[in-house]
């Protein structure tokens, strides 16, 4: 009796094994998404999946969910946000790049897309995806405790020159965008800073409030609460124009130091072979949604900046980013090739 059970068990197993062999030609590792072959003319005819390459609860996730809710109105189809965290976003974005190119799987991409290759984490870059629209951009903001002995960028640099290597600047992890920002500040101002990496921007800000580091270079969204509470002050932002979140703070250039725009950003992409007419439909829907009052209110209450770019501008922007980080990473000796 027992033996026959075993045989049956093994039989079932072998049937299942055959099933695998039968579909062995399919290379996709994870085919969870509801993407299907839709008719191009009546796009979209069914629900769309949006991949968020971060875990539930983060700023990217919140942005994706808030945006999805508004885009639904313009596309007439529901959008489900799926979190695929891991590998600095490479897991989710790679899956987005390899999805069926029919427009039913879109990906919320983050600045890391143009950095992963230089970091040595993944071979993914922006060329493997087709840009749809850019939604948000948050520049690095040099922020210090409210009682720090410097009130301007110039005074900060002077202080750093008098105390070389003593100023501790917290960032969101080695090789993260905020680390690059601090390194770029050190390079442009010719000062020596001690870079302290944290697991993300929030712990770095906590350490700044606790007085364990002297400055952070993270986005205004991350420090907004503490700015409002009067615990911190932002000296300048690394952008070519002022931020809507903290309009009183000057840009680096205004404060007397030439600087590139160093910012985190979020946008929408689709797989490379997606037909152009579908990209256009998506682009228009996403840009309209990002202009809705509800979305704007959500973004501003979270300290997130809205920056809209159409597909071609977004594409050019990503290429520019890619080249800049390539140079920057080589210069800093980061990356692991």
């Amino acid at each position: 009796m027992k033996k026959s059970m075993k045989c049956i068990g093994l039989f079932i197993v072998s049937v299942l094994m055959l099933a695998i062999a039968g579909c062995g030609n399919d290379k996709s590792e994870n085919a969870s998404d509801s993407a299907g072959s839709g008719d191009k003319t009546d796009f979209p005819s069914k629900a769309i999946t949006m991949i968020s390459p971060t875990s539930a609860g983060g700023g990217t996730d919140a942005t994706a969910r808030a945006l999805a809710a508004d885009v639904e109105k313009h596309l007439g189809q529901s959008i489900g946000v799926v979190n695929k965290p891991g590998g600095s976003g490479s897991v989710g974005m790679t899956e987005g790049a390899n999805a069926k190119p029919d427009g039913y799987t879109v990906t919320m991409v983050i600045a890391e897309l143009t950095m992963l290759e230089h970091m040595g984490v993944s071979t993914l870059n922006q060329d493997q995806m087709k840009a749809v629209a850019m939604i948000n951009l948050d520049p690095a903001a040099l922020t210090v405790p409210a009682d720090a002995p410097y009130d301007t960028l110039e005074e900060f640099i002077d202080y750093a020159k008098e105390h070389p290597g003593e100023l501790q600047v917290g960032n969101a992890g080695t090789g993260s965008i905020w680390h690059v920002a601090a390194e770029s500040l050190a390079k442009n101002a010719d000062i020596e800073l001690n870079h302290v990496p944290f697991e993300g921007a929030a712990p770095a800000v906590t350490a700044l409030v606790g007085g364990h580091v002297d400055a952070v270079t993270v986005s205004p969204a991350e420090v907004k609460t503490q700015l409002d509470a009067g615990n911190l002050k932002t000296l300048a932002i690394m952008s070519d124009k002022r931020s809507d979140i903290i309009p009183d703070v000057p840009t680096f250039t205004e404060a007397g130091l030439e600087s590139e725009t160093i910012a985190t950003w979020r946008g929408i992409t689709v797989p490379n072979d997606t037909p152009d007419e579908i990209v256009t439909i998506l682009q228009d829907a996403f840009l309209k949604a990002a202009d809705e009052e509800g979305f704007k209110k959500f973004m501003s209450s979270n300290g997130l900046g809205i920056e809209l770019k159409k597909a071609d501008e977004f594409n050019a922007f990503m290429d520019e980013n890619y080249d800049y980080y390539k140079e920057m990473f080589a210069e800093l000796g980061l990356g692991n090739k």
Partner: protein
């Protein structure tokens, strides 16, 4: 407990050794901290140390091995069934493969009542659909065959 001690001791030593070997090409960055390899090497050293202690304990141990290994095969077969289950999910999707697996496992554990064999797999699938997919909005893999 002679065999388990010796086996786990040897595995621990091998694992420690292998990972230590892998740390050899970790770069030493020019920073104040201890570098990428420092703590993993300590962990590997500890694994080797504990492995050696277990090995000695095992060799010194002369008590009879009381654990019968006769029953292991049932656990192994169930592992193979689950492995097959996991491997087919990407192709035939979660719902079909789950129903098939639960059916196989029930059959394997000598359940012959037709009602049970049908209702448990279907009930389980329905539960996942309602709680995970509908209530909690988890995207359950549908499988590439059905796309």
């Amino acid at each position: 407990m002679k065999v388990p001690h010796i086996t786990s001791g040897i595995i621990s030593i091998c694992l420690g050794g292998l990972f230590y070997y892998l740390t050899l090409d970790f770069p030493k960055l020019n920073t104040a901290d201890t570098g990428a390899a420092f703590l993993p090497r300590i962990y590997c050293g500890l694994l080797i140390l504990f492995g050696i202690i277990l090995l000695i304990q095992g060799i010194r141990d002369h008590s009879k091995n009381e654990e019968s290994s006769q029953t292991v095969r049932y656990a192994l077969i169930s592992m193979v069934i689950v492995l097959a289950y996991i491997l087919v999910i990407p192709y035939i999707g979660f719902y079909v493969s789950t129903a098939l697996t639960i059916f196989s496992l029930l059959f394997f554990s000598k359940v012959r009542k037709a009602v049970t064999l049908v209702s448990v797999p279907l009930g389980a699938v329905l539960f996942v659909f309602l709680v995970f997919e509908k209530l909690l909005k988890v995207s359950i893999p549908m499988g590439s065959l059905f796309l």
